[in-house]
Symmetry: C2
Subunit: 414 residues, 2 copies
C-alpha cells in the first residue's frame, strides 16, 4: 500500500509494518494507529476527482484507506448515508446551522457497517475465510451481514442473556451463534480461545487497527457532502472510543492532505450513568477509571472502554467539548429527531443530539455555531426503548363525537 507508511503504537510510539493480519504493537501490546503518506495521497487525488467518482459508498475514498482494492467478491453498499440540513431542528433549538448525518441507513442499520466492511476486506487480504467476534450489538450484526454478502463465515459469541431479536438477526445472516452461559467476561474468554485455536480473523476493535480506518469514512463523507467547508462542531456519542477516534482521524487525514483548511471541534457525548472517557477528558488526563454501565443506550454502555487512548487524544486534540446526558435527555432527543427531522434513531444514535441540546442549553457552545450531529444507529434496532420514548396514542370508540372529545381533552386543534 503506497499510501500507508506504517502502523504506530499509541503507547510506545514503535512503528511496525501494516500487514493484513497486523493486530497490536509487537513491542508493548498497545493499540496501533495506521499512518499515511499525505504527499502521496495529494499527488493521487483531488477534491475534484472525488466529485466525479461513481462509487457511492465508503470505497470512493480508496486513497485514504489501508487497502489496495476490495477484490471481486460482492459487497454491501456501506456508507454514502445522507447528510440532512435540519432546519426544523435548528428552529426548535435556536441553532444557526445543524446537519444530521443519518448513519442508521447503512445496510445493517448502524455506523459499524463501515468497520465491518473493512474487517471483511482485511480478512480476505490475510487469506482468512472465517471471522469471529464476541458481541450482540451493532458490531456483530454488521459483521454477520457484510461477511454473508462476501461469502465468508462468521462465528459470533454472545452471553446467554442476549436479546432474542438481536440473536435472530445474526442467525438470519447465517452466523454460527454460540450462546455462552456466563458473563460477558466468560464469553470473551472462550471466543479468544476459539479464535486462537482455529486461526479465525478477529473483528475486535481493541486489537484491530483497521476498523477505525473504516469508521473514519463517515467524516470523509461529511466533508465532501459539505463541499469541504467544515462545521464548527461535530457531535457524536462515545462508548468504547473507536467511533469518536475514527471521526477525528477522518478530519485530520483530510486536513493533512490539504482537502480542508480547518478542523471541527468534537462534542463527545456519553451517558451520565456510564462516562469514563468524558470524565477523564474533562480532567485532561489519560487516567480513566472504569465505571458501572447504567444507561438504556446499550451501544454506548461501556464501563471499560477498549480504545480510551485514541478517544481521549481525539477529544483533546480537537479542543473538544464533553457532555454527559441522562436517559431522559436521550429519549427527548429521540423524540425531537423523529418529530423535527423525520430521523428515527436508537438511543445511542440519538445521544449525540442529546449532548448537542445540552451543550446549547448550558452555553457550552454558541447558538450561531454550525454543527453536524451523527446518528450512529437506527431506531428499529431497539423498538422497546422507542416505545418508552414515544408516549401514548389517543384511544377512542369509532365515533366522531368521541374523536372530538379526545382532541379537545388533549388540546389538539386539527
Amino acid at each position: 500500500m503506497k499510501n500507508v507508511t506504517g502502523a504506530r503504537c499509541t503507547l510506545c510510539g514503535h512503528v511496525t509494518e501494516a500487514l493484513p493480519g497486523t493486530t497490536v504493537c509487537p513491542e508493548c501490546g498497545g493499540i496501533l494507529d495506521i499512518e499515511y503518506d499525505y504527499d502521496y495521497i495529494r499527488s493521487k487525488l483531488t477534491k475534484y476527482d472525488l466529485m466525479d467518482r461513481e462509487e457511492p459508498g465508503m470505497w470512493r475514498y480508496m486513497e485514504f484507506l489501508p487497502v489496495e482494492g476490495i477484490g471481486n467478491r460482492p459487497r454491501l453498499r456501506v456508507g454514502g448515508s445522507p447528510l440532512y440540513r435540519a432546519s426544523g431542528l435548528e428552529k426548535k433549538l435556536g441553532l444557526k446551522t445543524l446537519y444530521i448525518k443519518d448513519d442508521g441507513l447503512n445496510p445493517t442499520a448502524s455506523l459499524k457497517d463501515r468497520a465491518s466492511a473493512m474487517a471483511v476486506v482485511k480478512a480476505e487480504e490475510a487469506g482468512k475465510t472465517t471471522i469471529a467476534c464476541s458481541s450482540t450489538g451493532n458490531a456483530a450484526s454488521s459483521l454477520a451481514g457484510n461477511a454473508a454478502c462476501a461469502g465468508l463465515s462468521t462465528y459470533i459469541f454472545v452471553p446467554s442473556r442476549a436479546p432474542k431479536g438481536k440473536v435472530a438477526q445474526l442467525l438470519m445472516f447465517g452466523a454460527t451463534v454460540v450462546l455462552v452461559e456466563g458473563s460477558y467476561e466468560d464469553t470473551f474468554r472462550i471466543s479468544a480461545e476459539a479464535i486462537d485455536r482455529w486461526g479465525w480473523y478477529n473483528r475486535n476493535a481493541a486489537i484491530n487497527p483497521y476498523l477505525m480506518e473504516g469508521k473514519k469514512t463517515v467524516s470523509l463523507e461529511i466533508a465532501e457532502q459539505l463541499g469541504f467547508k467544515m462545521p464548527d462542531y461535530v457531535a457524536v456519542s462515545v462508548g468504547d472510543g473507536c467511533t469518536v477516534a475514527g471521526v477525528w482521524k477522518g478530519f485530520k487525514d483530510l486536513y493533512e492532505a490539504g482537502f480542508i483548511d480547518r478542523l471541527p471541534r468534537i462534542i463527545s457525548v456519553q451517558a451520565e450513568g456510564c462516562c469514563p472517557i468524558n470524565t477523564a477528558a474533562a480532567a485532561h488526563t489519560m487516567n480513566w477509571v472504569p465505571q458501572e454501565e447504567n444507561t438504556l443506550a446499550d451501544s454506548i454502555a461501556v464501563g471499560v472502554p477498549r480504545n480510551p487512548v485514541k478517544a481521549l487524544r481525539a477529544i483533546e486534540e480537537s479542543h473538544g467539548v464533553t457532555v454527559n446526558v441522562s436517559d431522559e435527555e436521550i429519549l427527548d432527543a429521540m423524540r425531537i429527531l423523529g418529530r423535527e427531522a423525520g430521523v428515527f434513531a436508537e438511543p445511542a444514535g440519538a445521544a449525540g443530539t442529546a449532548g448537542l441540546v445540552k451543550a446549547l442549553d448550558t452555553g457550552l457552545i454558541e447558538k450561531d455555531a454550525s454543527v453536524v450531529s451523527i446518528v450512529t444507529g437506527n431506531g428499529l434496532k431497539d423498538v422497546s426503548n422507542a416505545i418508552r420514548a414515544a408516549g401514548e396514542p389517543l384511544s377512542i370508540a369509532p365515533d366522531m363525537d368521541k374523536l372530538l372529545e379526545a382532541f379537545e381533552k388533549k388540546g389538539i386543534k386539527p
Copy 2:
C-alpha cells in the same frame, strides 16, 4: 406540468386534468392513471443527462414525475437504494443472473417511502399542511417520517389491535395517532369522516393517483443501475396492487420515452393464504374475488385489494408469471437472502424472492434468465417473524470442551 397530459380513468377512460388535489374519476369514481407526453420528456432528458445528475434519490427522475419541482422544505433522501449482483444466491439457485434491489434501505425502511415522499410534495402543492391515512403498516410510518421532515402534520388512524412497536414508530415521528376500538372497517370509516371534516390531504393509494408515480421510481432506478439493459424478469410481492402497478409503469415510461428497448416480465408473488390478484391474473380475468388474509407477511395480507385493475393490467401487459408462496417458503427466502446476500428482509420483502425460487423450481422460468428481485421492506420492521425464521443458536457452558462437543453434535467443522 408540461410533461403530464392528464389523468385517465382506469375504468371508463375519461381524461381529466391532473391537479394537485385530484383523486378519483369525476365521471365514475374509478382510479386515475397519470399520463405523460413522452416526446416532451425525450426532448428534455437523455440517458446521458441522467448519469451526470448529482441528486441521489428519486427526484433525479423529475421529468418522469408529475411535479414541477419539490419546493424548499427539507426532504428525506428517498430512493437511490442499492442494486446488488447476488452471485452467492445465483450459485445457490442455479440461476444465471440475479440482482437484489434492497428497498428496505429507504429512510423509514420500505419502498413505501417513494409513495409518501410524493404524497408530501403533492399535499404542499394542494396547499395542505396536514396529511392523513388509516394504516399501521409501512404506508403510515413512511408518511409520518416524510411529513415530519417537511414540517407537515399527520393524523394516522389505526385499529386498536395494532402492534405497539409500529404505533411507537408513528408517535416518534410526531404523528397524532388515533387508536380506534373496532375493526379496520370502523377505523377507515372514522378516518374518512375526519378527512372530510377537516379537509386534510388523503394518503390513500386507492384514491390518490400520484402515489404510484412515486413508487415507479424503483423501476427507473433499476434500469439506470443496469445501464438501461433490461433483465428478463422482475420479481415483486403483491398486496393491494399499487406496488406492482408502479413497478410496471416505471418500465413502460422508460420504454415509451425510448430509454430502454425491451420490457421485462413481471413475476407477481402473493401468499398462498391471500392471493386474490394472482388468482384472477392466472385466469386472465379482471373479476377478482375477495379472500381471507392467512399469511404472516402482513404487508401483503390484503384480501380486498385496493388497486386490482392497475395490478391485473400490469401483470397481463407484461406477460407476467404468477406465483403463490407458503409462509414456510417466505421464511426460507428470508434465510437465503440473509445468508447468501447479507440482505435482511421483512416477510413481504422476501416474498418476491420466495416466488422466484418457486418459479425456478417448478420450471416457470428458465435457469439462464436474468432477474431482478425487489426487497420491499427491512427485516428490522418485523423481528418476531425473523425470530421464527432464524432457527436456534448453539448454547454452551464457557468451556472449550463444551464448544467442541456442541460443534460436533451439530456437524460444524470450523
